[in-house]
């Protein structure tokens, strides 16, 4: 079934390197390989989850997809067109179709603008509608995200964190996008509020036929919302699979360690479960040696892991892993 579905986003060999500035003391062309040769695709109407520890490049990948960052190399096909090397003017029609919801509902809304102005701004840029028509759209969107008409005149500081995130979602919806990148969109919210926002995102997806890229570090929430999940480690995609299959049968040793580290909210299960606690921490992304990047922390590392960088291969139907064990 998966093969026949239409791909909305198709990423091929995407790289994003950040050069480190040369200082008086350090010379040379050091780079941080935040996203290094990543390929994956997202089908129309699905939610693709992206997980990994901080510093693995998941946010950079999200921001490169909507061209907040310029990719170093590779292709980003959006609805069949490569947008990786378009200039700002050529990008304009795509910006309308790709929107983003940010992590921090406190700093991602301009405190000097009213809710109406915040939601209106993208409409003003991307449409030629009159003020009255735009107002109608804004009211419609506010209702969709569960805010009231009176809220239009208010400023962001008058809202709680959960409600601010609703404003951020309303802003993202205003241009009627196809694809929304949720970069840790719920991690700043309280547990009871997270569920409200997640349910709303799910309802909106059904109603408006949206495609999500859901970037997060909360693995339980990612499992809940995603159809398929990609696991990143130090700039590489190490495993891609259907969400249920990934949690039931993780293949990559890193995914296994990551999943077993999730604390389970159930005292008996939590105390009886054997947790493989992964030792060590993420190595520096600056000077990467050849071979598999996870090998220093990997309990199954073999000699070949130090020599050859494993590539992503399909071991089971729709289940990709980059590891020499398979």
């Amino acid at each position: 079934m998966a093969e026949t579905r239409e791909k909305l986003v198709d990423v091929k060999n995407l790289k994003k390197y950040f050069p480190l500035k040369n200082s008086m003391f350090k010379k040379g062309n050091q780079v941080v390989k935040a996203v290094d040769d990543v390929s994956f695709h997202i089908y129309k109407g699905e939610t693709f989850g992206l997980v990994g520890e901080s510093g693995c490049g998941k946010s950079t990948l999200g921001r490169t997809l909507n061209r907040l960052y310029d990719p170093t190399a590779g292709e980003i096909c959006f609805d069949g067109n490569d947008i990786a090397s378009l200039n700002n003017k050529q990008l304009q029609p795509y910006r309308k179709r790709i929107q983003m919801i940010f992590q921090d509902p406190y700093s991602s809304l301009n405190p000097y603008m009213t809710v109406e102005e915040i939601i209106d701004e993208p409409l003003e840029i991307h449409t030629r509608l009159s003020k009255g028509e735009r107002k109608k759209i804004i009211l419609d969107i506010l209702e969709k995200v569960g805010l009231k008409k009176e809220d239009m005149e208010k400023f962001p500081h008058e809202f709680s964190g959960g409600q601010r995130q609703r404003i951020g979602i309303a802003r993202a919806l205003s241009t009627n996008p196809d694809f929304i990148i949720c970069d840790e969109a719920i991690s700043a919210l309280d547990v009871s509020i997270q569920a409200q926002v997640i349910n709303m995102l799910e309802d909106l997806q059904k109603e408006l036929n949206l495609t999500y890229l859901f970037v997060a570090h909360d693995l339980s929430m990612v499992r809940h919302i995603s159809d398929r999940i990609g696991v990143m480690y130090l700039g590489k995609m190490v495993e891609i699979s259907k969400s249920d299959e990934l949690y039931a049968k993780p293949l990559h040793p890193y995914t296994q360690a990551l999943l077993s580290a999730i604390p389970i909210p159930d005292p008996i299960k939590a105390q009886n479960s054997k947790r493989e606690i992964i030792t060590g921490e993420l190595p520096s992304p600056i000077e990467m040696e050849k071979g598999c990047r996870f090998r220093a922390r990997c309990p199954f590392a073999k000699p070949i892991c130090a020599e050859v960088d494993p590539t992503l291969k399909e071991v089971e139907d729709g289940h990709f892993v980059a590891c020499h064990l398979y």
Partner: protein
Amino acid sequence: MSSNIEEKSNLLEVKKLRTSFYDGKSKLEAVRGIDFTVKKGEVLGIVGESGSGKSVMVKSILGIIPTNAKIDAGEIILDGKHIENLSKKDKRAIRGREIAMIFQDPMTALNPLKKAGDHLVELLIRVRGMKKKEAKNEAIELLRMVGIPSPETRVNQYPHEFSGGMRQRVLIAMALACNPKLLIADEPTTALDVTIQAQILELLKKLQTENDMSVVLITHDLGVVATICSRILVMYAGMVMEEGMAHEIFYSPKHPYTKALINSIPRVDGEKTRLKPIKGSAPSLTKVAKGCPFAERCELAIDKCFTEMPVYKSFSSTQKCMCFLAGEGDKLDG
């Protein structure tokens, strides 16, 4: 495990504690009459959302509340001694020696201009009266104990050379330097990645058993409490809604808030179902309502809930909860 904890004696008793913030004429009641005990050698979890007063409460115990806040009433008894009215100097003597604290953000809790080891050395000299050289050796041992590799070199490094998880280990080493009886950990793993969180929780558990310390762990993550706590307090709007052993809270919660909280989180084990959020948001504490603070968001609230404050009902020697409807054998138990 649960039975022997009941028999243990109390290390810390908090009675009717009230703490408020004052701003001119207005008053914000952050902690509204809290009673609880910490037994010797137990790990007590305090769960609550932001604004539930959990951090203000432990800061009141330590005497480190901000200057615009005041303890209005209540007793705090540590190991049989009242500590709520101690002078600044006497309170200082308790902090570090008897009660130590680990803070949430390992990035800002260390002085960036001081070497990691010097944080420890200074503490050991001041509190344990060690000589400088002796203190340095002890600092290396402490770093080794909290699992920092090659502590001999690490002791001379600055905080920016440490990762988040390693900084949290340094803070744990500082907290343990003076063998406190009680360790308060305020969201110690919230800023860390899951794999590092697992390492730190394991370490806390190990050190707690080895030193027979009591630990109060404050968190909003139910997974974390289930992993290491034996007893749990559930806080909401400055009050304890429910208290019980971990298995009581997770397998037979009595308060609608506890139930709603457990139901609102997705699980990595089990079926994927639609999440059940709690409607609305936490109440403002500047104008506190007469009735139950959770009434407005409660699915089951009756008229009485809005006008009268419920009293605690006991369900076992360890479990009690503040709700009119709990244990009435009604839809609440369904």
